[in-house]
């Protein structure tokens, strides 16, 4: 699509916010259009990175599962970790990547709960790796307009 979606959305959203919104009455509709313009700015920021950040995250979670599987003591979870580590994203549509991401992050919750109560060094190391990945995941999703 040309002009590129991020540039088109940014330009239109700023026009809405600066020129159109102040001219709208009543205030409720002014607020609604302002919200829509803000969502366009968010979409503009997310558009280009949407697939790559999901793919990067999915692959990182698979690496964590592959590293963690040998030290998981619960047999069912151990098998699941090994199986998920072998999956891959063949469909690169954002919806498909998001679906994989949900499955992988749900499994991450189970792995995290499994290792966080253990004192052995291997579990501590996996726990640390998970926290680092969780912090990284918020950087991938961060929007410039967000309060924090």
């Amino acid at each position: 699509m040309r002009p590129p979606v991020p540039i088109a959305f940014q330009t239109i959203a700023m026009d809405l916010l600066m020129r159109v919104v102040p001219a709208i009455t009543p205030p409720y509709h002014q607020g609604t259009v302002g919200m829509i313009a803000t969502m366009m700015l968010m979409t503009a920021e997310e558009w280009d990175r949407a697939a790559s950040r999901r793919l990067e995250e999915n692959n990182r979670l698979r690496e964590i599962f592959a590293e963690a599987a040998p030290i998981v003591t619960d047999p069912a979870l151990k098998r699941r970790m090994a199986e998920l580590a072998e999956t891959r994203d063949d469909d690169l549509r954002v919806s498909a990547l998001e679906s994989s991401n949900c499955a992988l992050r749900a499994a991450l919750i189970e792995l995290h709960a499994h290792v966080e109560g253990r004192a052995d060094p291997q579990a501590r190391m996996v726990d640390d790796v998970i926290w680092k990945e969780l912090a990284r995941s918020t950087e991938r999703r961060r929007l410039s307009t967000a309060p924090f």
Binding site: P26, P27, Y28, G31, T32, M35, I36, T38, M39, M42, E98, N101, C102, R105, A106, L108, I109, H112, A113, E116, W131, K132, L134, A135, S137, T138, R141, R142, L143, T145, A146, P147, F148
Partner: protein, 342 residues
């Protein structure tokens, strides 16, 4: 089918039998959150031959809501605090019967000429008064804790909770919201919940009225930096006073994108104001627990707003905007509190 103005006239006539020539005009919807549809209007009538006029606010339940709240509790909180040192608008009528206006509602007096915006407060002329606004904001929150909920007549309308059960009741509730409404897994908030259950806070120093959404954006302020009213009591309940303090300090209300809480003052300054006004101590470990709880509750709200938009009739864009803009900030706030934000 009667217009909303006509329906309001019919309803007010029932409530004010001595009034004549009742008229409703200048009705307009205003922003009031997604949990209620909020309208302002002018009521004109005559009584004993004298013409009168009032500016009123209608808060009506929508088809789907950001938060499942009880309008009876919200109404009771307004009524209880009106006329005290906790400024709130006067409420007039509560109506559960949907026949009158299509859904339950309540009507209050409008406090006119003030701002509520959490972003406008960052600009002049309001920016010059941040210390003054903060002093009032956290002092009012402290004063809320000094009011005995029994004397306010709120015990019964609001469910009682013992001091040692406050944390568990709230955490159970908001974890339940996540369980029922989350559309995508929440590994950070789930880890926070597990930590919180392993490390519960001490019992509440006292059981108080908890506003439930005490933050910049939910009070009326003017250009001289005076606060005139605390709004949006829809999540009010009885509980630990540190719950409101923790919520008010949340990083997600740092709209100036810096460390000032509520866009106003430092965390330390806010806590000091609250301690002075409440006469209570904000034990650092206990407050830390309640600040982390604020992230669980906040994420519960953003998750349920996304869920409501996708599954219910309410297609208010604020449901999307709040989910898109705050879910990741809420995760980052939780990470910071758990010492894992790098």
């Amino acid at each position: 089918m009667a217009s909303l103005e006509e329906s309001l006239v019919s309803y007010i006539a029932l409530r004010m039998p001595a009034a004549e020539d009742i008229r409703v005009d200048q009705l307009e919807q205003i922003s009031g959150g997604a949990s209620r549809q909020t309208y302002r209007f002018r009521l004109s009538y005559s009584e004993n031959g004298e013409a009168r006029e009032r500016r009123l606010i209608l808060r009506r339940d929508p088809a789907g809501s950001l938060i499942d709240t009880d309008r009876r509790i919200e109404f009771a909180a307004y009524k209880a605090f009106h006329g005290t040192d906790v400024p709130v608008p006067e409420v007039l009528w509560l109506e559960d019967d949907p026949r009158h206006l299509g859904s339950p509602f309540f009507i209050s007096v409008e406090m006119t000429g003030f701002q509520t915006s959490p972003t406008r407060i960052l600009m002049e002329p309001y920016a010059a008064h941040h210390e003054k606004i903060a002093e009032q904001k956290w002092s009012i929150l402290g004063r809320i804790t000094r009011h005995d909920p029994r004397r306010l007549g709120l015990v019964g309308t609001m469910e009682w909770v013992d001091p040692d059960k406050c944390w568990k009741r709230e955490l159970d509730y908001w974890e339940g919201v996540l369980d029922s409404d989350e559309l995508i897994p929440q590994p950070i908030i789930r880890a926070a919940i597990r930590w919180m259950r392993r490390n519960p806070p001490p019992p509440a120093q006292k059981v108080c009225v908890v506003h439930g959404d005490f933050r910049t954006g939910n009070f009326l302020y003017d250009e001289q930096g005076r606060i005139h009213g605390i709004l949006d009591w829809e999540m009010a309940h009885l509980g630990d006073p540190l719950e409101d303090l923790g919520w008010s300090l949340s990083r997600v209300w740092c709209w100036a994108q810096d460390d000032r809480r509520g866009g106003l003052v430092s965390r330390e300054r806010a806590v000091a104001i609250w301690e002075h006004a409440s006469g209570l101590r904000a034990d650092p470990a206990a407050l830390h627990w309640w600040e982390l709880f604020a992230s669980v509750k906040g994420q519960g709200i953003w998750v349920s707003s996304a869920h409501a938009w996708e599954t219910a009739e309410n297609k208010d864009p604020i449901l999307i905007l709040s989910a898109w803009s705050l879910m990741n900030s809420q995760d980052r706030a939780a990470l910071e509190l758990m010492g894992h934000l790098r």
